[in-house]
Symmetry: C3
Subunit: 132 residues, 3 copies
């Protein structure tokens, strides 16, 4: 039986219900859906999409880091937007992020779909990493 | 090559198309999206969200159990609601469930998004467990 | 540390942003969200749902194949539709596909939800396989 490690870090937003920021077990690290909350204030950054995407990715990175994983360990990113008109702006911020974090281009897979999110939130991202 | 085991249990609803209730392979157990169908009748419980959430979690638990996994093996829950106004009621039922099943607080990660579901269904949940 | 392999194949559509068609790491193969684009033309097939589902599944299969995996290695399919009225037609095409690829009936788990997709697209599917 593999041991489970629940990730807890003050550098990502505190969960608002009974879920963990991330869970590592058996070589997987699953990052919970992150949004553009600033962990220091608990409030959303913004109001723009680019700022929310960048904060969301910072939050994903904080959970990865606390779990001992890096951007290169990611196999999947699930991106939830609220409006198909936001796709180009998402990609601009997302591509710039990965150009910096993974300049070799060995980026994770991704699915992007358009859903409803709580008022004020324009993006949510969760992530799956394989660490060993 | 790891061997695959398809989970089949009468304690969760019968799939309505060519998919399995769950699949175990290589130490992962993936539970298919469950909804608030009572496996005994095939009809949705309800009409309230709380009843549907509880039935959905019972169905997730039946697949976990048949696959030899427990709530503590879960790394991720994906929760699909149809209305952002349901978030508080979801959390009340969800938190109570995990307070009972995982009193140590080492709960799985979670993503919650708002989508369309077939008429009468208010919630769908799928789950990923790591068993070894 | 497990080594990561990014899947690249001309038999599935070229990603439109910084993500990979698939990533293999530590015995997992994650296939990015595929849609009904013909990789030869970059344009959507269609206009019907059935044609899009079949092209989407061909694209999933191309990534699996390039990653050394087969339909039998799949543990999960995530299906995103845009309209609950499409469920029956999806299942007809999906069931026929798996009747051919996995006649033993040991099919992957599945979650189906209804979301927004870019104009012209009726279905998106991503997939998780375990190869060892």
């Amino acid at each position: 039986m593999s041991s489970k490690r629940v990730i807890r870090t003050e550098h990502a937003p505190t969960p608002v219900a009974s879920f963990s920021q991330g869970v590592a077990k058996g070589g997987l690290l699953q990052v919970a859906g992150q949004v553009g909350f600033d962990p220091a204030t608990g409030a959303p950054v913004g109001p723009g999409l680019t700022e929310q995407v960048e904060q969301t990715l910072r939050n994903v990175g904080a959970v990865l880091s606390e779990g001992g994983a890096s951007w290169g360990d990611l196999v999947m990113m699930r991106v939830y937007l609220t409006d198909t008109a936001h796709f180009a702006e998402l990609n601009e911020a997302y591509n710039a992020w990965f150009a910096k974090e993974l300049p070799d281009g060995d980026v994770p897979a991704r699915t992007t779909v358009y859903v409803g999110l709580p008022a004020g939130l324009l993006v949510e991202i969760d992530a799956l990493a394989v660490t060993d």
